[in-house]
Amino acid sequence: MDTIVSLADLTHDYGNHVALDHLDVAVPAGVTGLVGANGAGKTTMLRILLGLLHPTAGSVTVLGHDALADPLSVRAQVGYMPEGSALPKDQTAADFVAYTAQMAGLPSGDARRRASETLFLVGLAEERFRFLGDFSTGMAQRVKLAQAIVHGPRLILLDEPASGLDPDGRVQMLELIRRLGSFGINVIVSSHVLSDIESTCDYVVMLDAGRLVRSGPVVGSHSTSTVSVEIVGPADRFTSALAAAGVEYAVDRNAISVIADGDDVFDAIRDAAAASRVGIMRLERRSFTLEDEFLRRADV
């Protein structure tokens, strides 16, 4: 699979605050989720990818271009949807999106045609001649998405695209993002809502306080489950036996959560219990969400 973004030892700090801490990430083509709590460094990372922010250290390659040395080549092929308010209130949606297309180098006629097409795609065909100041939050988010794709970018960076939307709007926005992925556009979407990423993305990059927690396919983590085990007897002997058998686990107060990578996990638990001479009081299989994984790996 092609790598569209590559970060090597990327570090950025704002004075004493380290926003990104020695990140090494390779993002493949497709729809990628950038996950982390507020302040985890997601927006900083997106701004660095666009070349709008110069990192303290490290290197960044986007679509084969060095984002630090040649940011304009990156921006020519990338669309960006910022978080929060980013629309001029006194322009119509059609004028604004066409203008942003022209800013990307499209001739005037092509820009207006593309603006109509993309506004149609995001569901604003009827409203495109209304002034943006009169738009609801959901409509405004769609316009921001339209301007991000109007010039035909190879990659779009979406910063909290579902932020501020009601449940219906949220579902529709995520559906739109999924559709863009199906059209062959590479997407990096940041969110602090892990279930959004889980339902939308193929790949996930998890950040916590600027550190990389995990990067890998969403499918891999989604299909994984845990087995919650309660035992009678010394927990340390049991966990040592699990570790010796190469089984990944986490201790959570009274229960031990064992990562179930395959069907033979129950055999492994049985064998570990026998070897450590402890009794099994309860076994319960739970589905394992990105949120579980984030909490487990991020030490939160």
Binding site: L52, P82, L87, S108, F120
Partner: protein, 295 residues
């Protein structure tokens, strides 16, 4: 039941021509001009700029018309009518109001409404953006200065007893003097406005601050410059609006505005030229510095 089918056209990648940064700059200039004039905006955004522009053109028409009318009666009456320097005095005040009303609209909303984060995600630099905004500002503002002056120049040429071409040939200095004085007014007003709008987001406040700096600042500078403490005369240089007027009177060899603050403080016209250049250039560099954080 209809057999019509609605097709979802989906998304098609763009494979047409893509221009470079010059295309981007042209787009910003065009949008800047539309923004100043309120084009493709709500009606209330059009009212003031078009009212002021119409007033300027109407006044220019009246002045030229008066020259025609007076010229047919008596050359002496025509000589008493406003000429180039007087016309600058008349239109610079109108231009001041026009700049106060439209200038902050050109810059402020992009920043206060967060749109810069979208714009700077496009392949352009801060320099491209600000240069294009400046070009839009100069091209519209210069209309107020140049159109009436050129109308007057052509009107006087057509009234000349020596003939149209002979008048133009005999007054080759007039076009460059008109351009130079127009540039001087635009540089001073634009420089001051750039510093103010780089801080003040609200367009109304920015307009008030601009007019206050130019009008009240002039009076204050004049008073302080006349004080008796050492170096007080240097404060006369803060009477920004006096510098282009001083240069205008110098170039057109006229005495429209009497004695200006820098002149009264003992500074020559070249000092005013330096201040004009400094304010214009300083405002532009200040703006670039302030906008570096966006890209």
């Amino acid at each position: 039941m209809s057999d019509a089918v609605i097709y979802d056209r989906g998304y098609r990648s763009y494979d047409g021509p893509v221009g470079g940064r010059s295309t981007t700059r042209r787009a910003i200039v065009a949008d800047g001009i539309r923004r100043i004039l309120g084009l493709r905006r709500k009606t209330r955004r059009k009212l003031l700029p078009w009212a002021l522009l119409s007033l300027a053109m109407l006044m220019a028409g009246i002045v030229v018309g008066l020259h025609f009318a007076a010229g047919s009666i008596s050359a002496a009456i025509a000589e008493g009518l406003p000429q180039y320097a007087e016309l600058f005095d008349l239109f610079s005040r109108l231009a001041l109001l026009f700049i106060a009303v439209t200038g902050p609209e050109l810059i402020g909303p992009d920043r206060s409404q967060g749109v810069l984060s979208v714009y700077f995600s496009r392949p352009m630099t801060v320099g491209d953006y600000l240069a294009a905004k400046l070009a839009a500002f100069v091209s519209v503002t210069s209309l107020i200065y140049l159109v009436p002056q050129l109308a007057l120049h052509l009107g006087l040429a057509s009234l000349s007893a020596d003939g149209f071409l002979a008048y133009l040939g005999g007054h080759l200095d007039i076009p460059w003097k008109i351009a130079a004085v127009s540039l001087a007014f635009i540089a001073v007003h634009g420089g001051v406005l750039a510093v103010i709008t780089s801080y003040v987001d609200r367009t109304g406040f920015a307009a008030a601050a601009f007019l206050g700096t130019i009008i009240a600042g002039r009076n204050l500078a004049e008073v302080v410059a006349e004080a008796s403490f050492p170096g007080a005369r240097w404060f006369s240089l803060l009477a920004f609006d006096d510098h282009p007027r001083y240069v205008r009177d110098w170039l057109f060899d006229s005495d429209v505005g009497g004695v200006y603050a820098p002149e009264a403080a003992g500074f020559g016209p070249w000092t005013s030229v330096a201040v004009i250049a400094g304010v214009g250039l300083g405002g532009a560099l200040w703006m670039v510095q302030r906008y570096r954080r966006f890209a």
